[in-house]
Symmetry: C2
Subunit: 324 residues, 2 copies
Amino acid sequence: MFDSHSFSTKKKKKSYFYNKKLTLNIKILGSNSASPAHGRHPSSQMLELDNSFYMIDCGEGTQFRLIENHLSYQKIEAIFISHLHGDHYLGLIGLLTTMSMNNREKKLDIIAPKGLKEIVDVQCLYSKTILRFPIEFHVIDTLSNQKIWENELMEVFSIPLVHKIETSGFLFKEKPKKRNIIKEKIQLLNIAVEDIIAIKNGADFTDKNGQLHSYESLTYQPHIPKIYAYCSDTEYSEAIIPIVSEIDLLYHEATFMDVHKARAAETKHSTSVQAATIAQKSNVKNLLIGHYSSRYENLDGLLDEAKGVFINTKLALEGDWYSV
Amino acid sequence: MFDSHSFSTKKKKKSYFYNKKLTLNIKILGSNSASPAHGRHPSSQMLELDNSFYMIDCGEGTQFRLIENHLSYQKIEAIFISHLHGDHYLGLIGLLTTMSMNNREKKLDIIAPKGLKEIVDVQCLYSKTILRFPIEFHVIDTLSNQKIWENELMEVFSIPLVHKIETSGFLFKEKPKKRNIIKEKIQLLNIAVEDIIAIKNGADFTDKNGQLHSYESLTYQPHIPKIYAYCSDTEYSEAIIPIVSEIDLLYHEATFMDVHKARAAETKHSTSVQAATIAQKSNVKNLLIGHYSSRYENLDGLLDEAKGVFINTKLALEGDWYSV
């Protein structure tokens, strides 16, 4: 059954940014494939984890979508680009320029297949633009599933996808949070403040009677780490199943309906039935589909076909947040 | 006095495309400088002349603006790029890709300073994109005022501008139309059909009494050719005055108000007073200002200051047509 709590769609207000959340959230900024159509835009998503922000793909006009959605581009810590088709990265150079003109100082990591740095550099050369903040480019080996980036909150792994050019999906894996002390134990065993800190950091504790207590018995895990995977663009590929197995939320492209599956194969894209089949075979908790062909103004058919295979499917709709 | 006929602002409907017009029209697609703000977008304009279409600058997201304004990108014959700052060309590669994906076959001319072809080529290389229609790049010598392009309807001249990088304005000069025969003369002199064609092409005519009539005396000019100049981005430069002297409509950037004129000088932009001073000294018929700094949400101050110097000034407003 669909669990609305773990996969709720909500519009958040500007003030949202000042609420600490423990969940991982995804905002859809662009959901269409190739060219803009029907009010939909090229691919981009914002991932939020504990009030830190990460962009996934950056199609043309993404900086406009950020303004419309009251999202601060200066808070973005890293941008992950799946591949160098224009509908997935053409908004990057404009966004970088805007960041720089508005006095960004904070370092930005850009994780992408080979070539993006060269594309950025040639444009900076002819515009005589000096981006006034540090950028570190990380080149993805798009053939391997390996850790490509991490910070204190999460690890990110590449997912090899099968498309017309080098393409990588991304697996975002929240790191476990520090365990919390069980409050009743503090009084019961008369634990001092300095010992509480040590226990939370993994030290066992000996009480005044000389009895040893494991730190696990004195603490609890406050939060189960979440995992989100982004797979766009790709033909149907069962090779990704072991990588996304059992995760909380899978975004999988679903460019075409079943009637156009020959076109999907030809262009190395997936149908919504294929996306749902991957979700079902991977036993993920929930599936989000997107990257819609411009031929579909109404998306109900894509959703219905996917739900026929995997009931916990939702459409990626621009402007909506999806809490993992 | 302001002549509302020769410089009218009008929103045109989709059906407009099927009406032949003899006037030259400008549609504003983007009016802001640098980054998008206040619902305004980076620079772009569409010039229409006798149902043929030409784009001037192509900031990020211009293809979205075309959709919103029901303009067909496939009809564009040539794209003129003033300089390689991102807010003037970043929408180009997405637009070219969309043209190609939608089966454009018609040749496109792209007229720009040096570097644009290299920028397009490196992006096509990494995306393995082959644009399936012919593109001819024309490199502008941004230091000279010379003819850079023409077709059967108009000639286009470069206007050397003074900015942080190589920048050219554009003077669009409608070619004279074929003269029309004065109908009364046909009956009066018993002119045969084949002679009418010859006269319209410039041949003099000898009537049955042996009297010679000059073709000018038998025909009239149906339309006075119009001239439009686009000058963005530039610091105040009186060198352009002889080039734009007496023209019908001058678009001149007016990034700043007078209070920020030091900032204008520093960034090699103009104030609205400076734009109006150029218009006044050039004795142009009308002035259109744009390329507004994001610091101005309300544009009334820019307009008021310009009108204090040159009364026939209008603000360039996105979505509006300006008939020259």
